[in-house]
């Protein structure tokens, strides 16, 4: 039997039809986009964080004469150092801007003595300075004592983990990690509690004015995260309207950051928790009631477990938003250092790009951890709503409704209050000495930040991001969802599409500098243009759009594809005639999401803007930096009105389009 083997047949392989090939090609293109716009820059940054600078003493040779001018034998600096032990290995570490005085190798150096000195490089890369002139040569150069004291050696590049050990041994930088985590934890707890109360009122009570509260709660999404900081300065700063409420504490520091963080993360947490609370099974509550469970007990045994995945998810989203935010601590952090500020300081203040890369890698860790945990939790989420469920119907309860109204009222006053304060501050002539109203602060051309051009640039960026982003995101989601087979490819694509969620905007921006501002990179031409801003913004906000598109696409029955192909219809006709119209609400949602975020983002673009591409959100930052707080508030409010207008347009447009294309849903 064993001898009678069958002849080896043809390997069975799924035949790729033309549609499948085109779909794979499309997916490959979008995957390539994600690799170039995300994976490669991150890799460039990671490798940059291992670049170190140190003085390589073996590269220099010295010769010293006696008083008569006869030169002794040449000796390398390394040999001299080994003999004298002037510097140990630690001393020779440096930054890109380091200098080492050559006179240190000659203990009996005196600029008055007639002794002459010669220096040369032993190899091609041995930079040193004579005064301010850079030299890099293997030729001997001769100097008298008075010139020789102006000679400084320059460090050269090498690779190692030195930056990391330096970072973790620097108490100032290390304390930023604690500060960041501290701020993020406190803000997360406060935000989740506030948002839970709000969402509970909206979904589980018969409270009045729900529409109004929903509208107000979404407002913080429309402004840059810097704006609450500015409002808090006007409210609680040293000349603040309500300064006495601070009871001697300073708003500059953790208090300000936490209050501002609650403001700007509130809507994000609210959306997630509200979705979780909107689904509930009436039967569970009836069961609890018939078992005579108290309301308190029912709350803890039915409501909270039902919403637990939403709560965990909201907590992680808030945590990530706070720990990676840079605008708020910049405006109101005072001397309180956090990780995001450290990146900015290292890169912008101290020109230390390598250390900036190290902090970025450190900042990636909590963000990635939060992301992984969140994904695990999402997987465990099971549908609460089965076919037999009865939707929850809240019962009238006067006291409870009053309580809900109060909770929502407090939050609404908080949100509206901060926005109104900004608007008021923007209109005041000279705070606090001249409170007459004027439009002087809207004359942006007189302040830092790029003037009105910045505003028009921002609108251009937002429109381009919305159009191209939606195109890229939706096509990518379609290909990955509707392609047959090719499991590994799809899995890898999914991973790439989820990755942006875990990468903070500043980290992405810094990675772009390393990757795109490299003359050897053929894509170098887009550095400093609007294109790179669009690419970075689309990439930074890719994940949420991708998830929205996937959800919409999963609603479409998988039968459509086989039916279309059996009718010999190419997939693109199906795509244009069925898929896009059916998904239009999702497509509109993605585009407005990208538009609003492109208007408000600071972190993803702060390292990348140039002369022609100053942006309104960055202008708010720069105006505040220069001390022009009122114009900063004015520009922030311009962003708010633009976003509110865009939202309104989006609402009207979707209503019209939906009426025309979605009437089938009504049937």
């Amino acid at each position: 039997m064993s001898d009678a083997t069958l002849p080896a047949g043809r390997a069975v392989k799924l035949k790729l039809d033309r549609d499948g090939a085109i779909k794979r090609a499309f997916m490959a293109v979008i995957a390539l986009y994600l690799i170039v716009a995300l994976a490669l820059p991150l890799y460039a940054m990671l490798s940059k964080s291992f670049v170190t600078y140190s003085f390589d003493l073996a590269r220099y040779e010295f010769q010293v004469s006696d008083e008569a001018g006869n030169f002794g034998p040449p000796q390398t600096a390394a040999a001299i150092n080994a003999e004298l032990g002037v510097f140990d290995a630690d001393d020779l570490r440096s930054s890109s801007d380091g200098r080492l005085a050559a006179t240190a190798f000659f203990p009996d150096f005196s600029f008055r003595s007639p002794v002459k000195y010669r220096i040369r490089g032993t190899g091609p890369d041995a930079p040193y300075l004579v005064g301010l002139d850079l030299q890099n040569t293997t030729e001997w150069k001769e100097f008298d004592g008075n010139t020789f004291r102006r000679i400084n050696l320059r460090p050269v590049k090498s690779v190692g983990v030195q930056n990391y050990s330096e970072y973790f041994s620097n108490p100032a930088l290390f304390s930023s990690i604690q500060n960041s985590v501290f701020i993020a934890v406190i803000s997360t707890v406060l935000t989740v509690v506030a948002a839970f109360g709000f969402a509970y009122s909206l979904n589980r009570s018969l409270m009045r004015f729900k529409g109004f509260f929903k509208l107000v709660a979404m407002m913080p999404i429309l402004v840059p995260s810097l704006l609450p900081g500015i409002a808090l300065i006007y409210l609680f700063g040293n000349q603040g309207m309500l300064k006495s409420l601070m009871m001697g504490h300073s708003i500059y520091g953790p208090i300000g950051i936490v209050i501002g963080s609650v403001f700007f993360t509130f809507p994000h947490a609210l959306i997630i928790i509200s979705t979780a609370l909107s689904i509930a099974d009436q039967r569970q509550y009836e069961a609890a009631e018939s078992l005579r469970a108290s309301r308190w007990r029912t709350f803890w045994t039915v409501t909270i477990p039902g919403a637990r995945y939403g709560l965990i998810s909201a907590a992680f989203v808030t945590f990530t938003l706070v720990i990676t935010d840079f605008g708020l601590p910049k405006v109101i952090g005072g001397q309180y250092n956090v990780l995001a500020i450290d990146i900015y300081k290292q890169v912008i203040g101290q020109q230390n790009f390598e250390m900036g890369a190290v902090v970025s890698v450190v900042l990636l860790i909590p963000a990635v951890l939060a992301f992984i945990v969140d994904r695990q939790v999402q997987k465990k989420q099971v549908s609460l709503l089965s076919a037999r469920s009865v939707p929850f119907q809240p019962k009238p309860n006067k006291t409870f409704e009053a309580l809900c109204l109060m909770w929502c009222g407090v939050m609404a006053v908080f949100i509206l209050g901060l926005i109104l304060v900004c608007q008021f501050a923007a209109l005041v002539q000279f705070w606090p000495y001249d409170l007459s109203l004027s439009l002087k602060n809207y004359d942006f051309n007189r302040t830092d930040g790029g003037g009105w051009d910045a505003y028009t640039n921002s609108i251009q960026l937002a429109l381009m991001t919305a159009v191209f982003g939606t195109l890229i995101v939706f096509t990518g989601a379609y290909m990955v969802e509707k392609i047959d087979g090719f499991k590994t490819g799809r899995g890898m694509f999914q991973f790439l599409a989820m990755l942006p969620m875990a990468v903070p905007g500043m980290v992405l921006g810094l990675a772009y500098i390393f990757f795109f501002n490299d003359p050897a990179n053929p894509l170098n031409a887009i550095y400093g243009t609007m294109t790179i801003l669009v690419v970075s913004t689309v990439t930074h906000f890719y994940t949420v759009g991708h998830l929205t598109a996937l959800t919409a696409l999963k609603q479409i029955d998988a039968e459509f594809e086989p039916v279309a192909s059996s009718l010999r219809q190419p997939f693109y006709r199906l795509f244009a005639r069925v898929t896009v119209p059916v998904c239009l609400p999702a497509i509109l949602d993605i585009s407005i999401y990208l538009f609003v975020n492109a208007m408000t983002t600071v972190s993803a673009v702060v390292f990348l803007y140039s002369t022609h591409t100053t942006l309104a959100s960055v202008a708010v930052l720069n105006m505040d930096d220069a001390g022009d707080i009122a114009p900063a508030a004015a520009m922030g409010m311009m962003i708010f009105y633009t976003n509110a207008g865009a939202r309104l347009l989006h609402m009207l447009a979707s209503r019209r389009i939906l009426r025309r294309t979605q009437s089938w849903r009504g049937r």
Binding site: G248, S250, Q335, R446, D518, G627
Partner: protein
């Protein structure tokens, strides 16, 4: 949208159109000059050279320096017009400047140009450190106005002093380097240790401390005289104090970035930047300019400031910049708790 802002936009739009119609060359010019002066500088330059359009990239001194250094191997700027000389010296050590013997070089004061021939940079004007003191808030708190740098360490000012961070601000660096030169290294750091006890915040930009003093957000802002004069002219209740020990200063200077594609236009701009007309333009805000004898007194500018300027050693400041900043960060950046 208001009428004024609409007007601004249409003016900006028409300006763009006009520029697009006539400008032959566009120069990317990096600068740390105050934002509100940029339009005036460009317009005055365009009176004589309408064919060159200036695209400004403006930020604080530290940021612009960082940007230039980051782009070392792939420069984006054509010219640097209005950056601290100490920063330009750092760029020179990186071989980033193209030396050029500008026309009219001989008229400049000897200290207002690079000593090499041809010089790598030429000076415009000097900007001088000063202390902005808010008299209204000072009176409310019962403080007396400080008269010297040493006074600023008095306990009564605790939490009322704001100064720029030397790592990012040119003004901050000139303050620190001048203290080290006035008091000597050891005493200088001792002085800053004392001052640090009173500082409420280190700001990113050099003009912010004075603007904060002007709006009463702080009482004492260590900033520069020109900014103080401007805020005072706007109606801020501040006094501009020149500390008795003498004040640090730095020069705003101009240079061509090596490797520029628009060399002719860059040279034209450099020539123009040291003409008497340009000096008069700088003089609107700066009391000390590059060509001697041109400067007229500036409104609200404190008197006697030229005599108070210390004998600044630029080479020392440039070559020790990174070491000073490192030491500064080690001593004062660690203050992570805000002052209550």
């Amino acid at each position: 949208m208001t009428r004024t802002s609409f007007l601004c936009m249409s003016v900006a739009a028409s300006a763009l159109f006009v520029n697009a119609a006539f400008a032959d060359t566009e120069l990317t010019v990096y600068t740390a000059v105050e934002a509100e002066d940029l339009a005036r500088y460009a317009a005055t330059f365009n009176e004589d050279h309408p064919d060159i359009k200036i695209n400004w990239v403006r930020d604080s001194t530290g940021v612009i320096t960082a940007k230039l250094l980051a782009e070392k191997n792939n420069p984006q700027a054509d010219v640097v017009w209005g950056l601290a000389a100490t920063s330009l010296l750092v760029l020179k050590t990186e071989d980033m400047l193209a030396p050029y013997g500008a026309e009219g070089l001989d008229k400049l004061s000897a200290s207002f140009r690079d000593s090499d021939t041809p010089p790598s940079w030429v000076g415009m004007d000097a900007w001088v450190a000063a202390v902005c003191y808010n008299t209204v808030e000072g009176e409310k708190l019962g403080l007396t106005a400080p008269a010297s740098w040493m006074d600023l360490t008095k306990p009564e000012y605790a939490g009322h002093v704001v100064m720029p961070n030397p790592a990012s601000s040119g003004t901050g660096f000139l303050d620190v380097s001048s203290w080290l030169q006035i008091f000597g290294e050891e005493k200088g750091w001792e002085y800053m240790d004392g001052l640090h006890q009173n500082v409420a915040a280190y700001t990113h930009s050099g003009s912010k401390p004075c603007k904060m003093a002007a709006s009463g957000e702080t009482v004492i802002g260590i900033s520069f005289a020109f900014r103080g004069a401007k805020s005072k002219a706007e109606g801020a209740p501040i006094d501009i104090i020149i500390p008795s020990e003498g004040v640090g200063w730095d020069m705003e200077a101009t240079a061509i970035i090596a490797g520029t594609a628009n060399e002719e236009a860059a040279k034209t701009l450099l020539d123009w930047s040291i003409t008497p007309k340009a000096m008069e333009m700088y003089n609107v805000g700066y009391a000390v300019v590059g060509i001697p004898g041109i400067a007229k007194p500036v409104d609200y500018f404190p008197e006697g400031i030229t005599d108070a300027m210390i004998d600044n050693d630029f080479e020392w400041a440039a070559n020790n910049r990174s070491q000073i900043l490192e030491e500064w960060a080690k001593r004062y950046d660690t203050k992570s708790e805000p002052k209550g």
